[in-house]
């Protein structure tokens, strides 16, 4: 058994396992005695490797990824010309409409049948701000009740613009700052960091959902990343505030909450107990929540109304009244339901089952993070817990796959993150993730952007189906190090999944499903997806354990050296 870390060690002195050298080696391969890029994305930044100023590289990257976002946004959005309810675009527009016209007290109560507000207060404030801005251009876009189902091309441009602006004000600064700090602690060179940044910002699933389907997920994800950044910087209280912000924007951030909770509790207890820190963290979190709900509460005069308002908000935000799962989503329940109908059980039993399974899946990562509250372990922990939630929790939506994908993709920026192994796994999970959303995207007429963005990402990272490079052994500069070559089983597994995805697309496009089962292809998609996500969960959990053990090993070595 490894002895516990003997004493307090300042963050900066932490050493990292030597199997990764923190170099650019995984980006460069040698062919005929000449250095050449390992995958296409590297070659696009090839001339930046000699240390071109970040003041030039960063704006160029941000402009390029922005262009792709805007180009995707030229395509359709959810609910376009689908009366009477339309889709997410109309929901967001409707919230802008009601927040700017109604008193705060009515926000969560107004005509709930037509896209009643069911996101937490920060979304409501965000909608209010955007609604006010949009009314400057044209008040008709947000006229109360009159504007339902409004579909002006200029309105579309405005709404798309707000998504991009929100993303560039929150998500992108957060990711850039996080990567800067994270790569520094992991000894990753600036050049690798820039490459990882492009890969992260071009993540197909996020772009397709936010700029194609239409949502503001990046605001919530950006607040989560800002919270991680604050943790890396050692500013725990800011981390609490940002995370409360994320929760207050979209309740889906709860997927991350157990890890954040375990981590923040952990840093107060290990290696020694900090009562004051614990108190500060709890206080700041509570205050942040109060501030978040304050405008809603201030709108009321009687205590009863306050309680009612809170209850109503929470009731709207957590719809336990709905079923175990909606539509066909690639999680465990939908997969089980295919073979063994779950209708026969009572709703309350199903709820308890779901709760139990979710808890079981997240327990181990939470325990590890609680016992070893290290910032470098957060990413695999967050992604494995989010996968656990996605697979087993109640009322999962296929778009929720963005949550586990974000921390998993951020792993690309870590030490050895662009090595063949991590790249192959992260890339596989991302491609699988956007593939499971294909039925949703196809409904929004986003087939072309789906294929373009997913294949482009695969191409840039040198992944199947555009390149078989990861399956080939190649003489690389990182010979004899971990992760130079993929395990045979990994290769086999990935190959199977890629083939299945391609075969599925062929089936879906050219073969009509059998008459009795119109949803067969969608169910098949969900089944394969659920299997893949289960594997992704295991990989993240294994990654977490592996990194944790490596750090323990390192600590033990250091203690040995000191004792000698």
């Amino acid at each position: 058994m490894a002895p516990p870390p003997s004493s307090y060690r300042p963050r900066k002195k932490r050493k990292f396992p030597s199997s990764f050298t923190g170099s650019n080696n995984s980006l460069i391969v040698e062919t005929d005695g000449k250095a050449s890029p390992a995958f296409p994305l590297v070659s696009f930044l090839w001339s930046a490797r000699a240390g071109v100023s970040q003041w030039l590289v960063l704006p160029l990257i941000l402009m390029a990824v922005g262009l792709f976002r805007w180009a995707v946004s030229l395509w359709g959005y959810s609910g376009f010309q689908v009366p009477p309810m339309h889709g997410d675009f109309e929901a967001q527009r409707h919230w802008m409409e009601i927040t700017i016209h109604l008193p705060v007290a009515k926000w969560y109560l107004y005509d709930l049948q037509y896209w009643g507000l069911d996101y937490p207060p920060l979304t409501a404030y965000h909608s209010w701000l955007l609604g006010k801005l949009g009314s400057l251009f044209d008040p008709a876009w947000f006229a109360l009740d009159e504007s339902r189902g409004f579909e002006d091309p200029l309105l579309k441009v405005f709404m798309r613009g707000t998504v991009i602006a929100s993303e560039y004000l929150i998500f992108i600064p957060a990711v850039v700052n996080f990567l800067r700090r994270y790569t520094r602690t992991q000894n990753v060179p600036v050049w690798s960091a820039s490459i990882a940044l492009v890969a992260i910002l071009l993540q197909p699933a996020t772009i397709l959902i936010d700029h194609g389907h239409f949502q503001y997920n990046t605001v919530m994800l950006g607040l989560v990343v800002a919270s991680l950044d604050a943790i890396l910087a050692g500013r725990m209280l800011w981390a609490c505030i940002f995370f409360v912000g994320a929760l207050g924007f979209k309740q889906m951030a709860l997927y991350y909450a157990p890890i954040m909770f375990a981590f923040l509790l952990g840093v107060c207890i290990f290696p020694k107990i900090h009562i004051i820190r614990l108190l500060c963290i709890s206080l700041v979190t509570a205050v942040a929540f109060v501030v978040l709900f304050l405008p809603l509460i201030l709108g009321q005069s009687v205590l009863y109304a306050v309680a009612f308002q809170l209850a109503q908000t929470i009731h709207r935000v957590f719809p336990f009244a709905r079923g175990l799962f909606e539509d066909k989503v690639a999680n465990a329940w939908c997969a089980i339901h295919t073979f063994y109908k779950l209708h026969r059980f009572e709703a309350s039993l199903l709820q308890r089952m779901s709760l139990g399974a979710t808890l079981a899946s997240i327990l181990a990562p939470c325990a590890i993070i609680f016992r070893h509250p290290r910032a470098s372990l957060l990413l695999p922990a967050l992604s494995s817990v989010a996968w656990g939630f996605f697979l087993f929790s109640f009322q999962v939506h296929e778009k929720s796959v963005l949550l586990p994908l974000l921390p998993m993709t951020l792993l690309l920026a870590g030490d050895g993150g662009l090595s063949k192994e991590t790249r192959a796994w992260v890339g596989w999970a991302n491609i699988l993730g956007s593939w499971t959303m294909f039925p949703l995207l196809a409904r929004d007429e986003l087939r072309v952007p789906y294929f373009v963005m997913t294949l482009l990402w695969a191409f840039l990272l040198g992944l199947p189906p555009t390149s078989l490079e990861i399956f080939r052994g190649r003489a690389s500069l990182e010979d004899n190090t971990l992760g130079a070559e993929l395990h045979v089983l990994t290769k086999l597994l990935h190959a199977c999944f890629y083939l299945a995805m391609i075969a599925w697309h062929v089936l879906e496009a050219f073969v009509a499903p059998p008459p009795g089962k119109p949803d067969l292809w969608v169910v098949l998609n969900a089944l394969i997806g659920a299997g893949g996500f289960g594997i992704a969960y295991l990989w993240c959990a294994w990654k977490l354990i592996q990194q944790c053990r490596r750090i323990d090993q390192k600590a033990a070595d250091e203690t040995d050296k000191k004792n000698q």
Binding site: K34, S36, P37, P40, S43, F44, W46, S47, L56, P59, L60, M63, A64, G66, L67, F68, W70, A71, V72, L74, W75, P153, L154, K156, V157, R160, G161, I164, V448, P449, V452, M453, L455, L456, F459, L460
Partner: protein, 502 residues
């Protein structure tokens, strides 16, 4: 050893991904023009191609382009046969859009091929310069805006032009260069503007002995003559035999249009109009006579026939005279020193002359200067400093082609991205020149660049905020056009100096 990363093919893949995403973007009437031509060539006999006028967008490109449309129409049948019906005006089903946009992307492979030949033709030590120049051409915002949003086939046509320029590099392929250029002329006659440079260069380097002007190489003359005449006979022969040449002439050279296009291309005439307009308030004080008829149209700013209030009218003869004169100057030098770089320089200057002084020049024609210039812009720093204002002015002047809100971020961000990236990279790699640089020219260039950003911001945002969308709407256009004209003229003067002192 210079690294050639990212490769042309990799850039082409990423650029293609982006272009495919632009399928639903704004498309101009040129989209309908080309759809109509697909329909005409597909459903009518050849004799009627140049007589059909159901649509106002009649066929006004030379026969090879019509044949090109006919070939495309063979594939279009499988996409959506309804687009091939002549009476289906303004037909734009999504199959039609996907098909036509795809043909632009696919035919652009010609440009990719020509550029890869260009890189191959350069010596090992300068290969990276040629590679960078090729990337800058392939990713040019001009081609993106004009071809992939506005809709035209310039990528394909400029590919053929570059191919012919590359073929002119070696003595052994000069003949093919001539043939390729003849084919290009039969595809789109705007390249006639560059024809004199080819005429002089091929005449001097291919038809005459390199050592003496007085020893013609008769066999070469015959070969070239037969081939070029053959190409033209192939294109125009059938129409000649049907007695349609006069009709073709009317279609290809519609001289009824005015001096300036609706929106002024940034050339000398734009500056002339600007000066005319600026003089109006001072006319009374200076005792000049004002043409009252012109005033109404002048303040509107968006007119087909610009007439001048104070300055003398400009006739077609004037523009031809000036164009010819300024083409002649570089050609004299080309005659005296017929090497490849002088040839490309002369092509560029011919493009300049016709763009700056031509009659009814369209702003899209600025590519006629930018693309040949890009091939030699990295020769040394003096070339580059002449190229810089042109790159800024030329591309900025294309902005008014796209006026819809949805495309605004694309045209501006893409152009800024391209300018920052390539002007920075060019600046890093351009070799030091052997001759002294002109201090004043450098300062002018810098001043010019710094002025661009506030102007773009003013014209695209601030102006509307101050005056609203309706009032003085011609003002931003006029500023942009005059500013761009200043840049193009400045870079022309700069390049003339470089060309004649080299």
């Amino acid at each position: 050893m210079a690294d050639l990363y990212p490769s042309l093919a990799q850039c082409a893949i990423v650029a293609t991904a982006f272009k495919v995403l632009l399928f639903p973007a704004y498309k101009s009437t040129d989209f309908e023009v080309h759809r109509n031509w697909l329909a005409i060539t597909h459903s009518l006999p050849v004799q009627e191609w140049y007589y059909e006028k159901s649509s106002e967008w009649t066929l006004d490109y030379p026969p090879f382009f019509a044949a090109f449309e006919w070939m495309l129409s063979q594939a279009a049948r499988y996409a959506d046969p309804a687009m091939l019906v002549v009476k289906n005006l303004n037909y734009d089903s999504w199959q039609t859009i996907y098909f036509q946009r795809t043909t632009v992307i696919v035919t652009e492979l010609v440009l990719l091929f020509a550029l890869s030949r260009f890189v191959k033709s350069v010596s090992q030590q300068n290969k990276h310069l040629a590679h960078i120049a090729s990337l800058s051409i392939f990713l040019s915002p001009g081609l993106l805006i004009i071809d992939h949003i506005h809709f035209q086939y310039n990528g394909f046509l400029y590919g053929i032009l570059i191919l012919s320029i590359v073929l002119a590099r070696r003595q052994s392929t000069l003949l093919y260069s001539g043939i390729t250029f003849a084919v290009l002329l039969c595809l789109k006659h705007i390249y006639l503007y560059l024809a004199l440079a080819y005429f002089v260069y091929l005449g001097r380097a291919y038809c005459l002995d390199p050592k003496s002007v007085f020893r013609p190489r008769f066999f070469n003359i015959i070969k070239l003559g037969v081939c070029v005449v053959g190409v033209f006979a192939l294109a125009f022969g059938p129409f000649a035999s049907w007695g349609q040449l006069l009709q073709l002439k009317d279609r290809l050279f519609p001289f009824s249009r005015g001096l300036c296009h609706a929106y002024w291309a940034p050339n000398v005439w734009a500056m002339y109009s600007f000066a005319d307009r600026a003089l109006i308030p001072f006319a009374a004080r200076l005792g000049l006579s004002v043409n009252r008829d012109a005033l109404a149209s002048v303040t509107r700013g968006l007119v087909g026939d610009t007439s001048f209030a104070i300055l003398p009218e400009v006739t077609k003869e004037h523009t031809f005279g000036l164009t010819f004169l300024f083409q002649l100057l570089p050609l004299i030098k080309l005659w005296l020193r017929p090497d490849w770089e002088t040839f490309v320089g002369a092509i560029t200057l011919c493009g300049y002359a016709s763009f700056l002084f031509g009659w009814h020049v369209h702003e899209k024609a600025v590519l006629l200067i930018i693309i040949p210039f890009s091939l030699i812009a990295l020769k040394d720093r003096r070339y580059f400093s002449a190229f810089r204002p042109l790159a800024v002015a030329g591309h900025v002047s294309l902005f008014p082609l796209l006026f819809t809100a949805g495309e605004f971020p694309i045209k501006t961000v893409y152009t800024i991205l391209w300018l920052v990236l390539f002007l920075y990279v060019f600046d890093q790699v351009a070799p030091v020149s052997e001759q002294r640089r002109v201090f004043v020219a450098d300062r002018f260039s810098l001043l010019y660049l710094t002025f661009a950003i506030p102007l773009i911001v003013y014209c695209s945002v601030v102006h509307q905020l101050i005056f609203g969308l309706e009032r003085y709407e011609f003002l931003p256009l006029m500023f942009m056009s005059s500013y761009s004209a200043l840049g193009v003229v400045g870079s022309w003067v700069g390049f003339m100096v470089v060309f004649f002192t080299a």
